[in-house]
């Protein structure tokens, strides 16, 4: 039906507009009037698609959640080097926050004190913890490294990037994430990896650690 298609387009425009206004002004300050005006529809149309402001925000968050799930639930869901998946996912998350308004708004909504119980950060945190537990179990972590500590650190850092990025967008650079891993990986993984990193020839300045190539460059291998 053309009718349904138009409705779907309106709905998408509303979510997008809502995400923009939420991201710019925060949940409480964002007025439904501003959102519907930006979406180019009437005030009543908004309430036709979304019963209330709360539900509209939930829809935004839901869409952001799907993006995050696409990042965390990538193709090689459970195989491969677990730390590599962390490196990849954090890079992609920051990129997603930087590029996608809905994701950015979703995380913003999650932290708003006027809205309780956002699932976004909780899922992200659970995934990080899960992956690190796997890494520990599979022997990818250094002996003294605590999977729990590492998870908290990584979660906190990504949250920090996201929050700070809402004020100054230069925080949302992947270079920041690369720098994080540069400092974190040596201690996190075993001593030989560490040795390869610290005692080997210094990496050329122009080629920092990057997503998907991190461990290749470090010559990382599994602890026997």
């Amino acid at each position: 039906m053309a009718k349904q298609e138009r409705a779907a387009r309106t709905r998408r425009a509303l979510i997008r507009a809502a995400a923009e206004v939420f991201a710019e002004e925060g949940y409480v300050s964002a007025s439904l009037t501003a959102i519907s005006r930006r979406a180019g529809v009437s005030n009543g149309a908004l309430h036709f698609h979304f019963e209330s402001k709360t539900i509209l925000a939930q829809a935004v968050e839901e869409e952001a959640l799907q993006v995050v799930r696409r990042i965390t639930g990538g193709p090689d869901r459970d195989g491969g080097y677990a730390p590599q998946r962390l490196v990849d996912a954090t890079h992609q998350l920051i990129r997603g926050i930087a590029d996608n308004v809905v994701v950015r708004a979703g995380f913003g909504l999650c932290g708003d004190p006027a809205r309780r119980g956002g699932r976004l950060r909780r899922e992200w945190q659970s995934w990080i913890e899960g992956v690190l537990r796997c890494a520990k179990r599979d022997g990818w972590l250094a002996e003294g490294a605590s999977a729990e500590n590492a998870a908290h650190l990584i979660v906190a850092t990504t949250v920090g990037f996201e929050v700070l990025g809402r004020e100054n967008e230069w925080w949302l650079s992947e270079r920041r994430v690369t720098g994080m891993w540069d400092l974190l990986l040596p201690r996190l993984t075993d001593e030989r990896t560490l040795a390869a990193l610290t005692s080997g020839p210094p990496r050329p300045a122009g080629e920092p650690l990057r997503e998907g190539r991190t461990f290749d460059r470090l010559g990382m291998r599994r602890r026997p």
Copy 2:
């Protein structure tokens, strides 16, 4: 004077009540009525001391700023082991956020999208960057470690702790900070320190790295 003393007490009660309400509901949702009621004074009394909601929030932020400055501007302002000062300050900051409502509210206000230009995080960030630059200059950092990257990581992590702590207060534990340094210090400082940490006997579980004792346990010493 009796008069001025009462006024000062009222003012303090207002700032405290404001901090509580701001911390609980966020800047926008917090109503001046709720604040004055919690402080036990009338609406007009609030307006006598603070011209507007904006100015009240600034007062809260200002008081938080002083606490932060007391943390960052500790006794050995410019001497001693720079990394140690970072470890100490981060511990104290998290403790301050956990224990002091005003500090917690101050950081919360800083991140509110409806309020631009809070000095709190900016000062914290500048201080971290400054200390790390000093550390680099004085040879306390490992050769490959970037002071800038480290600063960003530490700032982002503390911000993340603070933000997450507003939802679940268990984030605001100093154990989290200790865990962070446990992962960070080895790569940040030079390789011999690192070796002492990774190859030595495992620390007893009950005695993690703590503020003020970190480097003693690591037997850290200056890179020649």
Copy 3:
């Protein structure tokens, strides 16, 4: 549309109610709640039609302006005896102020110190000045009579009537206007007209100068 009709009726009721309250209590003292209550609508409905109190007042003034323009821009816009048009218009203005709340409120708003730049009195004044300049040019005025002085006098008098009429409504009688012209016209127009007025038989007490018949009774004719 029925919808738009109802909206228009609400809008009109609001303007009317606003005019009443403005006329009774003045612009500053008039509360929007009182206005919306008198109009029989809610507080929000008022805000839907008029964004602010200022704009509501402007709407009232605008409607009054249209009435005034209808008075000044009568049918024989530029022909005929200019003084006669003044006599007619002043009578109609006072009658309008007396009978039409909106006009009364419009002039009241114009003089409120809290509201700058009402066009109502300015337009009225310009029109009076313009007509008198025409009268001078066409030879309708007595030789020594200054068009400018006359304009100022007439404007000031009508303003005075209007202002005093807000306290005691008996000021807003057309008899007052007739009395004004009785004193003014002789000196304003030429000496023969004057003679006809002063030396002729006294007018019967019961039949004063009236709108539309003034010059007929004076037997006025153009100065050669």
Copy 4:
């Protein structure tokens, strides 16, 4: 006592400041804080001298009333040419309004819809009416001239000058008053006076009718 002298000075400063603020912003908009600040005293001092805003306004009005009484109750209270006294008083009134803030504020307060029952205009009007009744009785008026009409016209005109002068101060020029009398006197006084004015040699442009010299120039004399 020095104490009492200081109190009197404070009281005077408050009345003066109140007059200024009332004249600028109107009664309702004028805030006691603005008044006390302009007077250089505290908010409480104002309330010590004047129990309420109403009473403060009454004090301003009272002082203005005394000035008006000085104008209307001049030396030759009941003798002399009555019309001359009108000419003089109107000139002096306009000058007083232009120069004296308290008088200006007093008249402004009188017309404020939020304040009922100002005596200022009422006394001015009564005086005008009284003088014109005397003039009529003593035979100073032209035969057809109505004392009542003339009184209303003069009162309305002075009120109009005053009101318009609050927006554009050029209205408060004595030239305006002179122009008024130039148009009014011929018809108001008897035909011989009139003849002297209209048929005699034209007055030089540079020397308009002036206070205190009006009738001299017209060669006015009593009707037998």
